[in-house]
Amino acid sequence: MHPETFLRVLGPDPYKVCYVQPCRRPADGRYGENPNRLYKHTQLQVILKPAPENIQDLYLASLKAIGIDLTLHDIRFEEDNWEAPTLGAWGMGWQVLLDGLEITQFTYFQQSGGIDLDPASVELTFGLERIAAFLQNVESIFEIQWTPERSYGQVRLAEEEQFSSYSFEFADVDSTRQMFDLTEKEALRLVSGYPRKQPELKRRYPVLAAYDLCLKSSHLFNLLDARGAISTTERAALIDRIRKIACRVAYCYLDQTTNPNSTSEDQESE
C-alpha cells in the first residue's frame, strides 16, 4: 500500500491523488498461465479525500472516458469490503464487475494504521491489465499490445514465470524469516525513536523510511504465506507484528504533519 494512500488518508486535510502502482501478490502468481491473474499487476490508484457525493458517477464517467459504452456492457457493484490486516487498514465498498470481470476495487476507507479516518476517503483501484485486455478485446493479459512493437507477454512473461517459481518453490523459508525479523527490527527501532517531544528533530525524522520497512516486512510475510510456510496461529501472530508497526507509523506521521511544532504533551495516547 503506497504511502500516498496509507498516509495521506490520515488527518483532516483534503487531498486528491492518482498514480500508477505495480502490485506484487506472491500467492496470485500463476506462472503466466492464467489469462487474468498475475504475480505483479498494475493498478491506477485514486484517493479522493473527502469522498465526493457523486463519486459513483465520477467513476462511471471515467470508464466512459476510456471508451466503455455503459449501455452495452453489464456493470455491477458487488459487495466487497477491502481490508489490509497487516496495515490496520480497511473500508467498505464493492468490486466493480465489467461483464463479470473485476476491474476496480471501490472502497470507502474507514481506518488506516488503526486510526479512524475523518473525513472518510474513497479509494478507487483500477486493474489496468484487465481493462487494457478488455479494451483491446484480447483473450489474455499477455496478448495486450503494450507498445506498438511489443505485447505485454513479451515484456513481462519471464518475470511472471520466475517470480511464481520463486514464491511457490524457491524462496528459502529460513532466510525469508530472517529477513522478516531484521526488517521488523529496523522498523521498530525507527518508530520507537520518534522524537515526539522534540519539535526541532521531528521534521527530518525518517517516519517514511519506517513505513517503507513496514511494507517490506508485509511483502516478506506474503512471500512466506505463498510458500505455505505459515500455520494459522503463526499467521495471526505475524499479521499482528506488522500491524503494530503500521499503526505506530500512522501515529507518528499524524503527529509529524499535524503538530510539527508541538511537544505533544497533551496527546500522549499512543
Binding site: 489469462p35 455503459l70 452495452l72 455491477r76 461483464d99 463479470g100 470507502y108 474507514q110 479512524d116 483473450e139
Partner: protein
Amino acid sequence: MTKTADFLLEIGCEEIPAGMIAKACDEFKVILEKYFSTSGLIEKESVDVFGAPRRITAICKGILQRQPDSEREVTGPPRSVAFDSADQPTRAALSFAEKQGIPISKVYTITTQRGEYIAAKIVTIGRPTEAILAEVLPRAVAEISWPRTMYWTSRDGMRFIRPIRWIVSLLGGKSVKLEIANVRAGIESAGHRFLGKKKVAIHNVAGYEAALRRNFVLANPVARRKKIESELTSLTAKHHLRVHEDPALMDLVVYLNEYPSVILGGFDSDYLELPEEILVTVMRGHQKYFAVRSRDGRLAPNFLAVINLGRDARGLVRAGHERVLRARFADARFFWESDQKCRLADYLPRLAHVTYESRLGSYAEKVERMRQLARWFAEQWFAQGIQQASVASADRAAELSKCDLVTGMVGEFPELQGIVGGLYAESQGEPEDVFQAIYDHYRPAGLEEKIPSNLTGCAVALADKMDALVGCISAGLLPTGSSDPFGLRRAALGLVKIILERKLPVSLSSAISAGVRALASTTQKLHVKPEIEKVIFDFIIDRARFVMRERLGFAYDEVNAVLAAGSDDLVDAVKRLEALKAIRRSKNFEPLAVSFKRIRKIIEKAGPAEKWQLPAVKPELFDAASERALYAVAESANRKASGDKRAGKYKEALQTIAELRPAVDQFFQDVLVNSENEDVRRNRLTLLQTLLREFSTIADFSEIAAGESR
C-alpha cells in the same frame, strides 16, 4: 373521521449488498409499524417494504393524515383539600388547574376507592402526520440493523450499510419535509444507472412502480424474480437444456440487479473433464451463474448469467462473461493439476502447521484422533455383526480426510472442503469406500442434508463430529445462546442423525469415552475432567430430543419417558418410542402411568431408600389380599415382559405391563402404604420400588403426561 392518505418512503442508496436487502426490508417494516402505531397513525400492520440494490421502499396505504386527538384524565388533590368549607377552591385547587393549563371551572370531582378527588381532562391535539414523519423516519431508518455499518462523510456522520444519496418521501402526493443523513427528501427518485433517467419524479404512491419501470427499475423483488425465472425457463427450453436449480443463488441474483435479464453463454467442453462439483462452484461462487444441464442430466458446456441490462443485442456482454469464465476455469484447472502434483497423503505433514484450536492442537493431531475414533466405530460395528464395517478403510479415509484443507482448490473454494479431498482420492486410485467416505464426511450439515452414503463415511463423519464435541466441550467451548463458533450443535445433530438414519449400534457413553481417550493421546495441554463426559452426553441427548420430537414427530413426554429409561443407544430408544406410541392409546396405559407417578411420589416422600428398603419383598409380611395379588401378577408380568424386552419385542412387553393396571388400582384402593406397622410399611415400599424399577426399563411411565397426548 380523519382523512387517510397513502405514504411512500424510498431510501436511495449506493449498491446495498445483495444478501442483506430482504432481511433489512423485513426489519424496517416492523420498525415502521411500531412507530406508526404508537403514534396512532395506523390501526393495523399495513406497511409494505421491499428493496432493490439501490433502494429500500416503504409504502403505507391509508395512513391517517393527522394524528387523532387524545384525551386523558389527571387526578389532583383530594376534594377535601381542594375546596374549603364554603365550597370555594383553595390554593391547592387553583395551582392544580394552573399546572394543567385549564380554568378552575373545568375542574371536576371524581370518586375513587380512596375517596373524592378533583380531576381534569387534558386533551392533546393530534399533530399533523407530516410533523410526526419528519421526526420518526430518521430514527426508524437508523434503527435498521446491518452486519456492519460505515460512514461516508465524517466520523460522527450517519452510519448505514452504504451511503444514502436520495430520499423520496410522499404523503398524499406531496413531499414530506425531512432529512436523513444530510439528504433532504424530495419527490425525485432515480432510474436504472445506465438505461433510465437520472431523475424520476414520483407524484403519487400508486404510480411509483410504473414510473420506475419506465426507467428500467423493477423496484419490487417479486417482479424481478418473475422476469428472471421466465427468462431462465424460455432460454433453456429453446436450447433443450435444464437449469441446475439453485434457490440460494436465485435469492441472491434477485437482489443483485435492478433490471435483470438472463443470457446464455457457453464454454469449451474440454473443461467438462473437471469434476462437476468444481465447475458448478466456480460458476455460482465467483460469477453467480446458474449451471446448465442437458436433457440426460449431465452438465452442459453452458451457463446462465443474470445481467443488469435489458438485453445484450450485440453479444458483447456474453462474450465478456465467457472470457471471464474461461479464466476462472483455467484457474480451477491450475489448482486441480498443481494440487495433484503430489498425492493427497503428501499433504499430511503440512496439517501439522494448521491449527484446529489452540488447546486442541493442529489438524495433524485432530486427524490422529479421528483415525482412532473411526477405527473404534468400525470395530464396534464389525463385532456386532455388521459385515461391511472395515477398520482399514475407516482408518485410511480418516487419515486423508483433512488433507484437502491445505490444497489450493480448497483455499480458493472453502465450501468444497471434503468434496475436493474425495475427488482427489478418487482420481488417485483410492478405493471407492475410502474416497466416498472422504467426500461425505462433513455431512450432514443440517437437518435436511443427507448422511454419508456408505458405512465408512459414517464412521469418519461420526469420528469428526465426536472429536469436535469432546475436544471443544473439554476446552470450555460449550455453545452459549446463539453463539456456536465451532458448530457443536450442528455436529451433535449430525451425529444423532447419522446414528438414527443408518440405525447404527452405538453406545454413546462408550463413544464419548473413546473420544476422551483419543484426546488424551494427542494433547497434553488439556486435562479432561471425568464429569465432562456427562456434559457431552447431555449435550448430544439434547439434540436427540430435538430430532425425536421435531423430525420423528414423537410427543415430548414420550421422548422424556423413553430417554429417562435409557438413552445410551439411540436406535433402541427410537424402537422403544415407537412401541410406546403404539401402546399409548390402549385403555390401561395412561391410568397406569398415573399410578406410576403416584408410586414415584410415595417413594420420594419416604426419604432415602437405605432407611426403609428391604433386600427383597417378603411375602410373609403381606396382610391384604390385593398386596399379595399385585405381587404375584407383577412377578409373572416381569418374567414375560423381560423375555419380550430381550427379544426386542417392546410393544408386547409394554402390553404386558399395561395389563398390571387392575392389580395396581386394586392395591391402591385397599391398601394404605404407610401402615403403622413399620415392617409392613417397609415391605410395601419395597414392593412398589421393585415395580417401578422393573417396569421402567423401556419407558419411565411417570414421565407420561396423562390426557395431554396428541
